[in-house]
Amino acid sequence: QSVLTQPPSVSGTPGQRITISCSGSHSNIGTNTVNWYRHLPGMAPKLLIHSDNQRPSGVPDRFSGSRSGTSASLAISGLQSEDGADYYCAAWDDSLTGPVFGGGTKLAVL
């Protein structure tokens, strides 16, 4: 059981905009910033968004993040077939003194 809650799966068609939600509590998302990672099984995870809405160099502006209260979301616009992957949210948890992850959301591009 993951500390942060994400939907197990979402789907979209090429060109569409989708969002992935991430729900937590006061000790993590309610107080600290949220990060998003993309992961293809067996590969190195990749940082997509840090500090709620900051994109590392090289991440296209199709990816955006936001946080409000104890929830956060990742939006992907102009969906492309190569966006199909698992997406994880994460945030520092004050009780754990470390990061907690969501259970992951599998994005299918139909």
């Binding site: 993951s2 910033t33 990060n35 995870p45 840090h50 470390g98």
Partner: protein, 124 residues
């Protein structure tokens, strides 16, 4: 090139010991925290713990305390994760990652560079 290099696969029997490595290149380990993240088959990512190579300070998830040991060898810019007695339930992918930590509030914390992972299979 800035990267973290991990061995691809390890196959062990229950009760055996193991030390997996994470070698940094293109940057100095002592400038960052290094975290370890587990992914069990069919499950999500789970933070195990982190080490600050400059002084070997560690932070551990309660779920993994006493189960693994983190260490570093600064002479070869390498971090390690070690088990003294493996169990079948340790079968998983293990990733090392460079961790940014700025305690707040709000705390800023993310993994900006990941290794390819070591796939560990523990089976008799």
């Amino acid at each position: 090139e800035v990267q973290l290099e991990q061995a691809g696969e390890e196959a062990k029997k229950p009760g055996e010991s193991l030390k997996i490595s994470c070698q940094a290149s293109g940057f100095t380990l002592t400038d960052f925290w290094i975290g370890w993240v587990r992914q069990k088959p069919g499950e999500g990512l789970e933070w195990m713990g982190s080490i600050y190579p400059e002084d070997s300070d560690t932070r551990e998830s309660p779920s993994f305390q006493g189960q693994v040991t983190m260490s570093v060898d600064l002479s070869i810019n390498t971090a390690y994760l070690q088990w003294s007695s493996l169990k079948a339930s340790d079968t998983a992918f293990y990733y090392c990652a460079r961790e940014i930590v700025e305690l707040g509030p709000p705390a800023l914390n993310w993994f900006d560079l990941w290794g390819q992972g070591t796939r560990l299979t523990v089976s008799s």
